[in-house]
């Protein structure tokens, strides 16, 4: 379409000569502004990917070398589990950043998808492990046990705590690892899709949507607290740290394996999301966040994008949960209480919304600090009339930090990276700092 070729006068009326016309100004001449559109490599578009992967690989190697599995007793097995769990939380924070930081949907339900992923893998872990125990205990009997006897034994073992010996229908696939792995993806994915379908198509946005997601989480949590929900009520699933068929492998090695798997999952997710968000897809998401009505008038099906993002990130959360809970060892309905999802939002806000590494920074920083404060290792502060006990006061501190970050540093910890970059590469638009070579140099300006 070149219908407008006759009107190419500069609209501002700046008499800066005739604008260069393509094809007439010599074949070698690039049209102005083409640099902004030149195709750039993946790493050039995502400078954080290189640093993120380098730090993650270095960190993983360091932890491996210092782990008890390799003989070094520098860090404990339980600390490796904490680190592995933190990597899984970083994965959830990435998902939350895509949903909230990029698309502008403040979901207070993503930890529910995380816990559902954990429950799905937990069913297999618990079933297969219990089956092993039942088979061992029945091995001594003179008559070999029938399949029905084994199943009955497993059901009694698992559901004795809730006063039942029946295997509920939702455990139908618990004997099969592939089936439960599929459910890790399907259950959170379908729930998110259904929720998104109902909520986004009705054009529920903003705080109302947040409330809806929170209601969904709360309803799910309350349902799972019931003994007849089929997932052992408030007892939850336990003993998940024992991998079936791997009894002879020590926890020191298992913990390292899960740590590696978590690190690999985090790295792959980071790469995938960086790729998706640095292109036009990310551009559409940010546009939806800033003005979704305008995006509709450009012809984009906003609801389809929201459902896609909500469902996709829910699946990511489910996978993260499936990696997290075998390291945690236990899952119960308290894990999907709304407060967990609110914490998730706090991590992303403190780390810096709208940038992937910000979410990771926030998750690492806040969750490690939280486990330090609540683990009883932070020294209490005696004030004479009152002793500040950090186990209680940590929440207050975190809440205060959240308010302060929201008010005064909306970029969060990620803003520090911006500041650091400004010092290293001041935006001088190609011009030197001073009038000549003898003037203030960039290196001096840093000091």
């Amino acid at each position: 379409m070149t219908a407008l070729s006759s009107v190419d006068k500069y609209p501002g009326g700046e008499p800066s000569g005739p604008p260069p016309v393509r094809g007439s100004g010599g074949e070698g001449a690039e049209p102005p502004g083409s640099a902004a559109l030149a195709p750039r490599s993946f790493l050039a578009r995502n400078p954080s990917v290189f640093w993120f992967l380098a730090i993650l690989i270095g960190f993983t190697a360091l932890v491996t070398v210092l782990s008890p599995a390799l003989g070094a007793e520098v860090i404990s097995t339980s600390f490796i589990k904490t680190l592995g769990k933190t990597l899984c939380l970083c994965l959830v924070a990435l998902a939350m950043d895509v949903v909230w930081g990029y698309t502008g949907i403040l979901s207070l339900g993503h930890m529910a998808f995380f816990a559902l992923g954990g429950y799905m893998i937990g069913q297999w872990l618990m079933y297969a492990r219990t089956e092993e125990i039942v088979l061992t205990s029945l091995a001594g009997t003179p008559i070999p046990p029938t399949a029905a006897e084994v199943a009955q034994g497993v059901a009694t073992q698992i559901f004795g705590v809730v006063g039942s010996s029946e295997m509920p229908a939702i455990w139908s696939f618990a004997h099969s690892l592939p089936a439960q792995l599929a459910l890790v993806v399907l259950v959170p994915g379908l729930l998110a899709f259904l929720f998104g379908w109902l909520a986004f198509r009705s054009r529920v946005t903003g705080v109302y949507l947040s409330i809806l997601t929170q209601a969904m989480t709360l309803a799910l949590s309350l349902y799972l607290f019931q003994n007849d929900s089929g997932l052992r009520g408030n007892n939850g699933l336990s003993g998940l740290q024992n991998l079936p068929g791997a009894a002879q492998i020590g926890q020191d090695r298992l913990s390292l394996w899960f740590f590696w798997a978590s690190a690999a999952a985090l790295a792959l997710t980071y790469l995938l999301l960086a790729w998706a968000l640095s292109g036009k897809f990310g551009s559409v998401l940010r546009a939806i966040r800033d003005d979704e009505a305008r995006v509709r008038f450009l012809g984009y099906p906003v609801e389809a994008y929201k459902i896609f993002v909500f469902t996709g990130t829910a699946v990511l959360c489910g996978l993260a949960g499936a990696l997290y809970y075998p390291q945690a060892g236990i899952i119960n309905p308290a894990e999907l209480a709304p407060i967990a999802s609110i914490y998730l939002a706090v991590w992303v806000a403190i780390g810096g919304r709208g940038r992937l590494y910000g979410a990771v920074l926030g998750a690492v920083f806040v969750s490690l600090l939280s486990s330090w404060f609540t683990g009883g290792r932070a020294p209490s502060i005696p004030l004479g009339f009152y002793t500040v006990n950090w186990v209680d006061w940590w929440q207050v501190l975190l809440g205060l930090a959240f308010v302060l970050v929201t008010l005064f540093a909306p970029k969060g910890l990620g803003g520090l990276v911006d500041m650091a970059q400004k010092i290293r590469t001041p935006d001088r638009k190609g011009a030197p700092l001073g009038p000549d070579d003898g003037a203030l140099q960039e290196r001096e300006a840093q000091e």
Binding site: M1, T2, A3, L4, S6, V7, D8, K9, Y10, P11, G12, G13, E14, P19, P20, R22, P31, P32, G33, S34, A35, A36, L37, P39, A276, G279, K280, F281, S283, V284, R286, A287, D290, D291, A293, R294, R296, F297, L298, G299, Y300, P301, V302, A304, Y305, F308, V309
Partner: protein
Amino acid sequence: MSALLEVSGVSVTFDGFRAINNLSFTIGPAEMRAVIGPNGAGKTTFMDIVTGKTKPDTGKVLWGEKSVSLLSLSEAQIARAGIGRKFQRPTVFEDQSVAENLVLALKSPRGPLAALRFALSGPGRDRVLDLAREVGLSDHLARKAGELSHGQKQWLEIAMLLAQEPRLLLVDEPAAGMTGVEREHTTAMLVEMARTRAVVVVEHDMDFVRRLNCKVTVLHEGSVLAEGSLDHVTSDPTVIDVYLGRG
């Protein structure tokens, strides 16, 4: 000449207030039309109905050669069918660069999976560069749209509209906040656009409408009061009554 857009017998009521009352409006595939009328005449509501933002209580809105009803389509589907809209207040994505804004608007498949696979092709790049040159933003492609001046944002939005390659353009007060030179340029652009597509301009400024030199539709209390050349409608006693008689 078959009609591109045919609005017939449309009425819409907001809380008892009849914003559009039995409105009928037709425009051909390559035609310029100015819509004028006092405040509250229903100009913006009319645009809302055509773009799918507001659903009318009664009436028909038919589009294109196949006379597809627009009433059952969503805003995004209507935009994809070829109706572009420019708002009075410039609405560009301020957090994104001028280039990103233009690529977003560039005609292409709109679904999430298509956006994931999207890569700017050679012709697409040339088109973005041409559009940027056309509106004088070539040197600003890498800048964030939020840094642009008010006038430049208006131009960016016009370029985005062109990038969509719509068959019908709805333009709400394009000259608002523009300098004299910019107005002239806008006029020239709109006239040029109307050679290949339908353009509906909603405007208060009579001088601007006169320069467009096209058929004029006068709206009043939600229905068409008069239609014809500007001289014809301004000499119509009922129009004079509406514009002047009420003071």
